[in-house]
């Protein structure tokens, strides 16, 4: 028998900082801190020395001066006399636009491909495997450049649409695919147009409320209300009714060929499409794998038990498998969204004016403020990443399996 002895409680001695595990960690941390401070001091001293040697300083004044360059895609008011700050704002909005478009399409594509990879149709399964492997294993930059080449090289120029013997024609007289971008009709808001929009939004809320009500009825009284047709009716009828009662306030403005180029309508530039499609297809392949893994993570017993209860296959998917699979799918899905946002900085390779193209590209080159511009650029991406991961953590905690 050996008695358990307390560790010696003697008075603190300096040597304990090295020999006693209770105090040694303080020594390590002190050393780490000292090294860190020394490194920062070293870098800062170098920076100061280099800047003064080059006659530069750190200043953000350049953000207030006129940018002097044009941006071809402007979600907000901007011209070449606007400030660099304004240019950066335009860039941020452009980043968010392409990231949003790519996230939505990548999700649709990825879920589609992921589910089809589990199809019992051999051909479809193999085709989806080919898609996933082909796109996952080739750099996204190459895909962006390939799609950009398709948009700018393979499509006809606007002049091909002109004249009696035009070699190209518009799709449905509404869409023109040219090497300067894709032209689509633009909605024109007449007086009263917003009423239609509000009616549409209100009907969306109505659908949501109706479904909630149906679920409550089902749980409280066991009465199953068919929600599909009322939802569809709610979706279309009120908005269309308002639309026609107000005398069709929303009209479409079709693109038309005037001179050497198309006028009117919305021009979606090739660079945006290249970036959007490439990011969507590339990330879609990753999302497909996440979705597949998520569905496969649900044990087969769940499906069989639901089948034993007499549920039909699509209800098993909707009510049993997917809700559980989502818990597995969503965290990697969100990190894929983050990847899309970060990869959208490749816009600079095809001349899409996102934040990297404006602040990190032209502004940096014109003002020579490399340190400031890149610091702001990193800060922007950092804020986006950190805020999304914070939201993610909150979500993860809320769906975590509550175990004993």
């Amino acid at each position: 028998m050996s008695a358990i002895t307390d560790p010696p409680q003697g008075s603190f001695q300096l040597s304990m900082l090295l020999s006693d595990t209770r105090y040694r960690s303080y020594t390590f941390q002190f050393i780490a801190l000292a090294c860190l401070i020394a490194a920062i001091a070293f870098l800062a001293a170098n920076l100061a020395a280099n800047l003064s040697a080059a006659g530069l300083n750190i200043s953000y004044d350049f953000l207030g001066s006129a940018a002097g360059y044009d941006i071809n895609q402007r979600p907000i008011e901007y011209d070449s006399q606007s400030t660099h700050l304004r240019a950066a704002m335009v860039g941020i909005l452009n980043t968010l636009i392409v990231a949003f478009l790519a996230c939505v399409s990548a999700t649709v594509l990825g879920v589609f491909a992921g589910v089809l990879r589990l199809s019992n149709n051999w051909l479809v399964r193999k085709l989806m495997a080919v898609y996933v492997e082909a796109f996952r294993n080739v750099p996204v930059l190459i895909w962006i450049l390939i799609i950009f080449s398709i948009m700018t090289v393979s499509l006809p120029s606007p002049s091909a649409f002109r004249g009696d013997n035009a070699t190209s024609s518009m799709l449905f007289d509404a869409f023109a695919f040219t090497n300067r971008g894709v032209y689509t009709p633009a909605p024109v808001m007449g007086p009263g147009a917003w009423v239609v929009v509000y009616a549409f939004l209100a009907s969306l809320v109505g659908i949501f409320a109706f479904r909630k009500y149906a679920t409550k009825k089902l749980y409280d009284e066991g009465r199953l209300i068919n929600t599909l047709w009322p939802s569809i009716a709610l979706f279309f009828v009120p908005s269309l009714a308002v639309f026609f009662i107000l005398g069709r306030p929303i009209t479409l403005e079709y693109p038309s060929l005037q001179g050497f180029n198309f006028q009117d309508g919305i021009q979606i530039r090739g660079s945006l499409i290249a970036l959007w499609f490439a990011l969507a297809i590339y990330t879609g392949a990753f999302i497909a794998e996440n979705v597949r893994a998520g569905i496969q993570a649900i044990s087969k017993g769940q499906t069989e038990a639901a089948g034993a209860l007499g549920m039909r296959p699509n209800r098993i998917m909707n009510l049993v498998v997917l809700p559980q699979a989502l818990r597995v799918i969503i965290p990697p899905l969100v990190s894929q969204y983050l990847n899309i946002t970060k990869n959208s900085s490749l816009a600079i390779a095809v001349g899409y004016m996102d934040i990297t193209g404006t602040l990190g590209g032209i502004t940096l080159n014109q003002t020579g403020r490399a340190i400031e511009a890149i610091l702001l650029l990193m800060l922007f991406y950092l804020i986006i990443s950190l805020s999304i991961s914070t939201v993610m953590n909150i979500y993860n905690n809320s769906v975590k399996l509550k175990e004993r």
Binding site: F28, Q29, N50, E133, V138, S149, V153, L346, Y381
Partner: protein, 432 residues
């Protein structure tokens, strides 16, 4: 009993009936096709639509490859030969493959050197990848490979790689000598010994720059797919140890160490690689002592290594977290100190769990090396977009070049991911 039956039953079969072949619809190819392709109206539609899509793609792709032109001097000659048959102008690859692989500035009479280095790469990583097959002694080649490859690709005096090796050997000897006292003593002693050797060796190599020297090639002359491979292998191998240290630091109980690691990892993971490359390109020089000039390629390697180290650290952290707590406690109860328990108990298991994740990061990183073309380095993509597409000979040949680049990356990345899946099956020691 049997007698009565012998009279009452007219016929008793005493041999087994030979088995009949299953119905034609329930066996062989027909059954496979029925169950896998046409098992219902929905599946039938899917199959037909898929077949049509495949036909569309093939109808465009096959003539492009079959009618391709492989011998021509420029795109106009290519088009003349093709006569509008819709083939690809693969002559650009035949004409410029050396530039695509080695870059346009690497001296063409020295192409054998990176080629030998590339072949040796397989010899060097074989014992790591297939450690069950190859003897452990071959790991010596792996350890020597970085120095050999450096000597072959960059050239210069052989003293530099030899001194680098000597530094590591000296460090290891000192570490082995002092490790019995404590891990810290061994570690810092080893590092100090290595630096002493390198410092002394630096004096020697500066005095004898022509000793057994190959023609020196400057870093800026590297390019093409070779540059992608160099960046990929160097950065992955450097970021692995750094990633392990960061992961351990993030798991640490010491708030200061943990804080430093968390901030570093989250910062690097939060920004795109392009911004880090911008830093390497234009900002990093401001943070170096005045007067020092770093190669651009070295600056890029530093930044990409930091980038991938942060990602690898997160993967390894996952592996560390997945280990049952009993393993840590077991190691402690055996009386192992921190360094021993990590080396002997925790890391071997945690790294094994992390292998698929690490390979994913490695593949992603290798693909991301194409981003250096944005800061005007001439890697494979940079070569295509820069010197080749802007030359008068090949201006307008897009698909063949990008297809070639995509194919090269696909072969490498797909190979790596297949290897990782194979290894995962090999390492699966749990009973299922």
């Amino acid at each position: 009993m049997s007698d009565t039956h012998a009279q009452s039953v007219a016929f008793v079969r005493d041999t087994v009936i030979p088995q009949k072949a299953p119905p034609a619809l329930e066996s062989g190819t027909i059954k496979w096709v029925r169950t896998n392709l046409f098992s219902g109206w929905f599946n039938t539609i899917l199959t037909v639509v898929t077949l049509y899509c495949i036909y569309l793609v093939m109808a465009a792709f096959v003539p492009w490859v079959v009618n391709g032109v492989w011998a021509a001097d420029n795109i106009r000659e290519c088009r003349e030969i093709m006569q509008g048959s819709g083939g690809g102008c693969f002559a650009v690859i035949a004409d410029r493959w050396q530039q695509l692989i080695f870059g346009f500035q690497y001296p063409s009479e020295l192409y054998w050197r990176p080629t030998v280095a590339f072949v040796l790469l397989f010899v060097a990583i074989a014992p790591v990848l297939f450690y069950q097959v190859f003897p452990r002694q071959m790991l010596v080649i792996t350890a020597l490979y970085p120095f050999i490859a450096f000597y072959l690709i960059w050239g210069g005096t052989i003293l530099i790689p030899i001194i680098a090796i000597l530094g590591f050997v000296a460090g290891y000897l000192v570490y082995n000598r002092l490790i019995n006292t404590s891990f810290a003593a061994g570690f810092f002693g080893g590092v100090a010994a290595a630096f002493v050797v390198w410092w002394l060796g630096g004096l020697v190599s500066a005095a004898l720059p022509e000793f057994l020297a190959l023609d020196a090639v400057a870093s800026r002359d590297l390019g093409g797919f070779m540059l992608n491979l160099i960046l990929g292998t160097v950065c992955v191998s450097l970021s692995l140890p750094l990633g392990i240290v960061l992961a351990l630091g993030r798991q640490s109980d010491m708030p200061v160490v943990k804080g430093i690691c968390v901030v570093f990892i989250e910062f690097v993971r939060g920004v795109p690689l392009i911004t880090l490359l911008f830093v390497a390109n234009v900002v990093l020089a401001y943070f170096l002592p005045p007067g020092t000039t770093f190669d651009l390629i070295l600056r890029v390697i530093i930044m990409i290594t930091m980038f991938s180290a942060a990602y690898i650290a997160e993967v390894i952290r996952g592996g560390l977290a997945a280990l049952p707590k009993g393993q840590y406690e077991g190691a402690e109860s055996l009386g192992l100190d921190y360094a021993q328990s990590m080396q002997l108990i925790v890391l071997p298991q945690a790294l094994k769990i992390s292998i698929p994740g690490i390979v994913n990061v490695a593949v992603g990183l290798f693909k991301d090396t194409t981003l250096v073309s944005v800061i005007s380095m001439f890697d494979l993509v940079g070569m295509i977009r820069g010197p080749i597409l802007s030359s008068t000979d090949w201006n307008g040949v897009y698909w063949e070049l990008f297809g070639f680049a995509a194919l090269l990356f696909f072969v490498v990345c797909y190979g790596i991911s297949q290897y990782s899946q194979w290894l995962e099956r090999q390492l699966a020691t749990d009973h299922r």
